[in-house]
């Protein structure tokens, strides 16, 4: 889900379990990305310009 979409639905209790699940997945993804960034592997999820989404120093 895109950030803008999260903003649209985040106030609704109906969506919270899905947002929480996604949030966990994102955390896991970010953890994976951080590991990858240490090895300077390209961030396939974000394209060649990572823009620092993973929070690693190289961003």
């Amino acid at each position: 889900m895109e950030t803008q979409e999260v903003v649209v639905v985040s106030r609704y209790e109906f969506w919270k379990p899905f947002l929480e699940e996604q949030s966990q997945e994102n955390t896991e993804n970010l953890d994976n990305l951080k590991e990858k960034s240490i090895e300077c592997i390209a961030f396939s999820n974000y394209g060649s310009s990572c823009a620092g989404q993973c929070g690693s120093p190289c961003g």
Binding site: M1, V9, R11, Y12, E13, F18, E21
Partner: protein, 356 residues
């Protein structure tokens, strides 16, 4: 069946899809016939190829959101859509839960069996009164055909649902109908207020007054309680948002949460559903005839998240009465009824009895 009431509701994003406007009935309160878009729905019905695109789009969207999907095929009479079985099969193979909101006219045993084999999860029929009243609304013989349809559904094992469209014309018959559906072993019963749009516009000046409606809900609640004490197996769903107001007045609501921001329930426009008409026009709710997009030209995802009209509907703090009510996070009445009566979906629900 008792267990169902204690189980949490399954969260699904629902597409109510009017795949055809064709219908063998001419119900006096139909929201479709005599509506502004009716002619277009008849003349510009989506082709099979476009319908499959819509299913693909819905599947892609709900998968991206990681949210289970349900499509309720309806009409008109969805069984009059020649490709309805193709659509059901295509959708179920993608893991989409399928319901049918239909008529009894073409629901014979063979058809029901085929629907069962395709995995249809429920089939909803309408009963709007006892025989004379119901047939007066719909067509001669409709009442008997509907009972026959319920029995066929029960026979093949498709959960049967009965919906009662409530207006001043049939108020006195809802309790007898509730008793009837329990005897017929209907799996789920609920009612919805008539929204005076389409052919139903003629009933606009004949709606239940707020206090009359409250009294009726009290009577219905008593009947539900009585039947549950008798261990009836029918589940009485409560889609009417104003139940919460009545429950609060009766002391049946749990204390309201400290969280005053989250929207916990109530009217689900802009939250968990969309309606698609036969020509691809998209509404937020079928009973709120405000166009928010068109499929397959636009994606359901973009329509739901980005349509200016849809986002305006989400500005629920603009609701003139509900925004001041302590049940705002749980109820918000029926904006479709408000819109039908006043042309403004932020106007007060004309049948809400709460005095602020």
């Amino acid at each position: 069946m008792q267990k169902q009431e204690t189980q949490p509701r399954k969260r699904r994003f629902t597409l109510q899809w009017h795949v055809t406007a064709k219908c063998s009935n001419r119900c006096t309160h139909c929201y479709l016939q005599n509506s502004e878009g009716y002619r277009s729905e008849i003349e510009n019905e989506l082709s099979l190829s476009d319908c499959l695109k819509v299913i693909d789009d819905f599947y892609r969207t709900t998968t991206a959101w990681n949210i289970p999907a349900r499509v309720n095929f309806t009409g008109g009479d969805p069984l009059l859509k020649p490709e309805i079985f193709n659509l059901i099969e295509y959708a179920t193979k993608k893991g989409i839960t399928i319901g049918i909101l239909g008529n009894p006219e073409y629901l014979d045993y063979k058809t029901a069996l085929r629907l069962k084999e395709l995995g249809v999860a429920r089939y909803q029929l309408s009963i709007d009164g006892m025989e004379k009243t119901h047939d007066g609304f719909r067509s001669n013989g409709s009442f008997e055909r509907t009972l026959k349809g319920i029995r066929i559904l029960n026979q093949v094992g498709i959960p049967s649902v009965v919906m009662f469209t409530l207006s001043k014309q049939n108020t006195d018959e809802i309790i007898p109908v509730i008793d009837l559906v329990t005897k017929e072993k209907v799996v789920l019963f609920d009612f919805a207020r008539l929204v005076p749009i389409g052919s139903g516009t003629q009933f606009q000046n004949d709606m239940l007054k707020p206090k009359e409606y409250r009294d009726l809900l009290l009577n219905i609640l008593e009947e539900y309680k009585r039947l549950k004490e008798e261990d009836c197996n029918t589940y009485f769903s409560r889609k009417e948002n104003l139940w919460k107001l009545l429950y609060q007045e009766l002391g049946l609501l749990q204390p309201l949460p400290k969280d005053k921001k989250t929207i916990f329930g109530g009217c689900d426009i802009g939250i968990s559903s969309l309606s698609v008409l036969a020509d691809g026009t998209v509404y937020s709710c079928r009973r709120l005839p405000v166009r928010i997009g068109k499929v397959p030209d636009e994606s359901l995802r973009d329509i739901f998240m980005k349509s200016p009209e849809q986002n305006k509907m989400r500005e629920i703090e603009r609701m003139e009465k509900c925004s001041k009510c302590e049940l705002f996070q749980f109820c918000r009445g029926c904006p479709a009824v408000a819109y039908a009566v006043s042309g403004n979906y932020f106007a007060p629900d004309p049948q809400c009895w709460k005095e602020l």
